[in-house]
Symmetry: none
Subunit: 554 residues, 2 copies
Amino acid sequence: MTSQVNPLAPATASAPPTFHVYDTTLRDGAQQEGMNLSVADKLAIAPLLDELGVGFIEGGWPGAIPKDTDFFSRAASELTLKNAVLAAFGATRKAGVRAADDQQVRALLASQAPVITLVAKSDIRHAERALRTTGAENLAMITDTVAFLVAEGRRVVLDAEHFFDGYRFDPAYSRAAVEAAFAAGAEVVALCDTNGGMLPELVGEIVTELRDVVGIPDGLHAQPGDPLLGMHAHNDSGCAVANSLAAVAAGAAHVQGTVNGYGERTGNADLITVVANLELKQGRSLLVDGGLQETTRIAHAISEITNISPYARQPYVGASAFAHKAGLHASAIKVDPDLYQHIEPTLVGNDMRMLISDMAGRASIELKGREMGFDLTDQGDVLSRVTNRVKDDEARGYTYEAADASFDLLLREEIAGERPQYFRVESWRTIVERAGGRGTEATAEATVKLHAGGKRIVKTGEGNGPVNALDHALRLALRRVYPEIEAFELIDFKVRILDTEQGTDAITRVLIETTDGARSWSTVGVGPNLIEAAWEALTDSAIYGLVHAGVSAR
Amino acid sequence: MTSQVNPLAPATASAPPTFHVYDTTLRDGAQQEGMNLSVADKLAIAPLLDELGVGFIEGGWPGAIPKDTDFFSRAASELTLKNAVLAAFGATRKAGVRAADDQQVRALLASQAPVITLVAKSDIRHAERALRTTGAENLAMITDTVAFLVAEGRRVVLDAEHFFDGYRFDPAYSRAAVEAAFAAGAEVVALCDTNGGMLPELVGEIVTELRDVVGIPDGLHAQPGDPLLGMHAHNDSGCAVANSLAAVAAGAAHVQGTVNGYGERTGNADLITVVANLELKQGRSLLVDGGLQETTRIAHAISEITNISPYARQPYVGASAFAHKAGLHASAIKVDPDLYQHIEPTLVGNDMRMLISDMAGRASIELKGREMGFDLTDQGDVLSRVTNRVKDDEARGYTYEAADASFDLLLREEIAGERPQYFRVESWRTIVERAGGRGTEATAEATVKLHAGGKRIVKTGEGNGPVNALDHALRLALRRVYPEIEAFELIDFKVRILDTEQGTDAITRVLIETTDGARSWSTVGVGPNLIEAAWEALTDSAIYGLVHAGVSAR
């Protein structure tokens, strides 16, 4: 039954929460290609997850991974968590060894984590072919390890690996694995779609059937002490979020995922997307009060630490998630933002943005101007000029959508009649030279001649390429008159050759992103070649930076 | 009912296909932040979509967007599609105007597209507040416009905008919009989750209910002439793919989406993911024979043209989609790859990476070599060297996938021990200079010094940019000794800055395409700046051209 609003019965002060938001960013998420988290990184991310209000933070595999042993050891003294508890991840005991004698299991205990999550085979083929043991011994491994850890006072979660594939092959065996874990005292059995190939409808059917046969109450009405089913989805079919929702609808009360959907291959279920859907569309209350409003900030803060570029089109928290382009909508959005957005962006701490492009009309440009601090309400003339200028420029290759700072300067130019004048360029030149044969290095230098602060300045910069050299030369030329420029740093640089059918006779567009450490801005340049386009973007960047640093022309 | 294998009844020769794979990459996809497709780009992408085997290619909004009017006009003479038909997108007539008198509607006809897709309000609030007309007039707009275009001999698809939100608010009105469209002769009504906020379970319920009440047969058994329901999903809840699958399970027979999930905000449903799920997990046959195996190649080729960095974690076609990180799985994968992958990656033309990958790598390289005329069957040494070289080069930024001619030269180099030697470069240099202030033109020249045909040659070329000038200088330098070079023309030139987080310190990759009038070839160059990268691509292009023109070194 689909419920649009279906609040949980309020938890009593002594009852544990009946829905687990379980974060594995630091363990499964860390298996993403290109991610390499240090202990310090993990210790920085954990408080952010805690701030979000997840219930569990799976920190890693102590014992098996030395960095993770360190993490748990340092977490004991350095981490103070308000909302979450730490979970240590590991595996069931080896075949033929007692749990108490298994080094890996003992290391999980030694981590001091109050929760221990064990991955166990729940697909008979994996028990037999990957572990090379019998189905019966595998069940004993589950029973023994869970019982041992429970007796040691830990809360235990059992991750039933390859559960869905295993269930489709031999449902009785997979069910036996689940039952063994609960019988031994596991608090949760999380069903893992380890290969990520499941589709939502079948996930729902299997979870429903499992609950019926094993006798697990619907998570929605779970009492303290009741066994709970969980879901651990991967995105190989593009359905990780939907699979998680399907499991919850079928009675799961524990969802595992990662922030920003980090993870191996196509990633784990994006935990924020799952939680936002459950809170905003199904009225569940899962994070701490006000936690959802922090998701955009926290998702971005975490991506700063992981150094993985944020994905602009990520649901809810992505930079583009509420960015509207088409003229089709812009006039209507002014009147009625709710008609065009599935939720109010501030609920997840995000913003509505209007993109400027040749599809934009006066309405989007007015809105955008307002966003940037310009009130163009009764300035019909300026609006018309700006709208036409944008269309013309875009037809010539400019793109203001990705270059807010250039658009800002365009507005100032149309309003005030001229661009802010900090310096006057006399000339510039770049030379790139490879003085030797194949395999020798090329050198690049640039010379800039300009007037600023009443002086004529000639400077030469070097770099690994003509644009890099030009950037250095421009800074060298401006820094004595405008020392503020030393704080600006070029952090991103994109080149696009437009209308490529003309070969090297095409137009080149350059986008650059600059930061002053606190905020960043983007500028665009267009020209018959890369150097001219880059020069335009570089000078606009300097001018914008100085304007916004409140600097007057000297 | 969940079916694992559920083949469609085979279509008879005269019956139209009963499932529509409808691609809107060039229209809705183009609304993605950062995308700016030229007419040439669209004309390059359309044949790739056709090769994939989609049934419909929505090309844009002729009349409303000048570039799109051009696209349809040029498509008429320049595009030959084998599998798909072109669709022109537009809107229903304006309120209070006859369809035949509406400029925008006439422009759709003028585009000559055999299919016209009209977006219409199907949410009463939008009709009243956004269009500021009455519900009745909006229905008349649908009826009139559809009937008019059908009478003019076009196939009509009606995109019911904001359908699901509208249905939840006033189901009778939204239903009336759907019925009006079918009654007027629309072939398909595509239900649009325009705000992207729907979840799969409710999508399925609504589509099922709509079919029952309106009397639309299950798409699985649709006969020619039966009304078809379609789905157009956006990814704001992270469920676009799942929503599309839910609609199909509930009886829709037409799915709209974009390659690489391009689109506004969080994007449209990723059409390849949807189709791969339907083909591989539900036994449907939707693309042309062998189409699915081309999806990885085509998805990447399209991202080269859009110049939007591919998303590594994209399901099925992403670079990381089948990349297994060492540890938990690696040893098992060696034995039993199927235990750890939800599908065999080659089914979608992708590769498993990180295993005894020599086998997989070597196999594809051997095949590729054979494709190019090199028999490497018993040349294990060469194969190993080439495989390792390709891996190393690609790690440094090369991409041989889009540069067959560079790969050809690599093979020759590994087989023969050296690249073909037509000339020896002594040095080169480029100078770009703007001798005046803002608004004056820059000049670019390049000087090349090389040895060919026993002579030392020094030539200076000019151009509109440093690469253009280098290209001219190289030709000038070679043409006396190798007059064949006069026939080569540079027709395409792409630049990508890799690892852009390093600003102008990143690596630059250049791809160029050259033609001799009969055939064309692509080469790649990589370097710390554009000029060096371009030089490598330019010289490789000349060498390859001369090799294949049968020219001996002079």
